[in-house]
């Protein structure tokens, strides 16, 4: 489950930042800083996750999506 979610998260991130080197993404570090994402990117990220996984993500939960590891944990728990 977690691996599947992780693959989806990386795919959605790749869609938003096609030039990003996702292989070197540190899973425990805030990826907004690693990938230089702005608020529009984050909104598109949430929209992409919702479309791919069908998970409702309230705006209040956005901080729980800060790192790759946190994101996978949050999404896996809500599927």
């Amino acid at each position: 489950m977690a691996d599947e979610v992780r693959a989806v998260v990386l795919r959605v991130l790749g869609d938003i930042a096609p030039e990003a080197d996702l292989a070197s993404l540190r899973p425990d570090v805030v990826f907004r800083e690693q990938l230089d994402l702005d608020s529009m990117d984050l909104l598109n990220f949430v929209v992409g996750l919702h479309a791919a996984l069908g998970v409702e993500i309230p705006e209040a939960d956005y901080p729980k999506l800060a790192t790759l590891d946190a994101c996978v944990e949050y999404l896996a728990s809500r599927r």
Binding site: G14, P18, E19, S39, M40, V47, E56, P58, A60
Partner: protein, 389 residues
């Protein structure tokens, strides 16, 4: 070749979307050009029939060069005569209205990320020949690397022909920005005013509003700022205009250029049109669309040439304020810093409040600090009633 900003001196025609004999309607995209700002769709501003193509793909020409000739529709309602085509005849009857279907065999637009474009140029690969695996079919760095790895061993091929050679690079964009900003600082006597605005009401309203909206329709706080700026211009309209020769033309329409940073470096500021008349939901949709196209390709010529004021925000990068440089021929730019929590006096009590620093940089030949201050005060007032934006 349209002038897509004060800094643009030339552009390269990449492809025609219409052919001689095709009917064109005002607003149709007829060509793609490459400029320092990326790949831009060129629109027409008249309706008629495309008679002749004057610039071939691959050619770089100065701004102002005629790209094609269009025979405008006669003012009467009667249909005009059949057009005699001086060059290759059209393959079919007049083209349908937008969107224009691509004919088989014609090269479709290929979106290329800035990094991929740069790498492709270095490796001597034409990115437009690759199948993109990124968002919306964008060619990514990985696609270019795969293509390079799959290339037969041997010497690196010569640079692609002029028509296919990537021309946009970060260094060129920086030169373009430098030229425009140097001109601005040299010619425009700037003045600056700053105001700190309490965002408690705006952010509280936004949180409630977004909780009601499906994820695809949520609003970004930046849209509230853009709309507030647009409405505040009704109070101080002299900030909304452009220089034409030696005088300023106030604009009845509010077209706000939004500064968008590009991933490979540099920035563009395409316009959101008629911002003061758009509801927030529609404005958010337009904002999302223009950011996506700024970063993926597909901005329209009109979007890069008709902004009447610019809004920039560097707040997400951690700075508290930004003092912008007016982008000629405009006369003002509004900047917003990041939201910070500060002690704030409310009804005699000190409370923590989210605040933002708004700045106005403006042309002193057109307005003065008093009017600029009234403008920022209007922005603040509008943000205290977000439900009315």
């Amino acid at each position: 070749m349209p002038i897509l900003g004060a800094d643009m001196t030339a552009g390269t025609l990449i492809a025609w979307r219409k052919r001689p004999g095709d009917r064109v309607t005002r607003g149709d995209v007829i060509a793609e050009v490459e400029t320092e700002k990326g790949l831009i769709d060129v629109e027409v501003f008249v309706s008629g029939v495309l008679e002749r193509i004057l610039v071939e793909p691959g050619a770089t020409v100065p701004t102002g060069t005629a790209l094609a000739s269009i025979r405008e529709d006669a003012p009467s309602a009667a249909p005009g005569p059949v057009v005699a085509i001086p060059v290759a005849p059209p393959a079919a009857a007049p083209a349908p209205a937008m969107p224009v279907a691509r004919e088989p065999g014609r090269r479709a637009r290929v979106r290329v990320s800035p990094l991929a474009r740069k790498l492709a140029a270095t490796l001597g690969i034409d990115p437009t020949t690759l199948r993109g695996t990124g968002a919306g079919g964008a060619v990514t760095r990985e696609d270019v690397e795969r293509a390079a790895a799959a290339r037969p061993a041997g010497p690196v091929p010569a640079a692609p022909p002029a028509a296919a050679r990537p021309r946009m690079d970060v260094a060129r964009m920086r030169q373009s920005i430098a030229a425009a900003m140097a001109r601005s600082k040299r010619e425009i006597p700037h003045y600056y005013v700053t105001h700190t605005i309490d965002l408690h009401r705006a952010l509280s309203w936004l949180a409630e509003e977004n909780a009601r909206r499906p994820v695809t329709e949520r609003l970004l706080y930046g849209v509230l700022l853009i709309k507030a700026v647009a409405l505040a211009l009704h109070d101080v309209p002299e900030l909304n205009g452009v220089w034409r020769g030696d005088r300023v033309e106030p604009s009845a329409a509010v077209h706000i250029g939004v500064a968008i940073s590009l991933r490979g470096g540099g920035l563009v500021a395409p316009a959101l049109h008629d911002v003061d008349r758009q509801p927030l939901g529609a404005l958010m949709g337009a904002f999302r669309d223009v950011v996506q196209r700024a970063r993926g390709g597909g901005l329209r010529s009109s979007e890069l040439s008709d902004a009447t004021i610019t809004v920039t925000s560097l707040g997400e990068q951690g700075v508290e304020s930004v003092l912008g440089i007016v982008y000629p021929p405009q006369v003002a730019i509004v900047g917003f810093g990041r939201i910070v929590e500060r002690p704030w006096v409310v009804g005699g009590a000190v409370l923590p409040r989210p605040v933002v620093t708004a700045t106005l940089s403006a042309d002193h030949r057109v307005s003065d600090g008093h009017r600029g201050g009234l403008f920022l005060a209007a922005v603040e007032r509008l943000l205290q009633s977000p439900e009315r934006l």
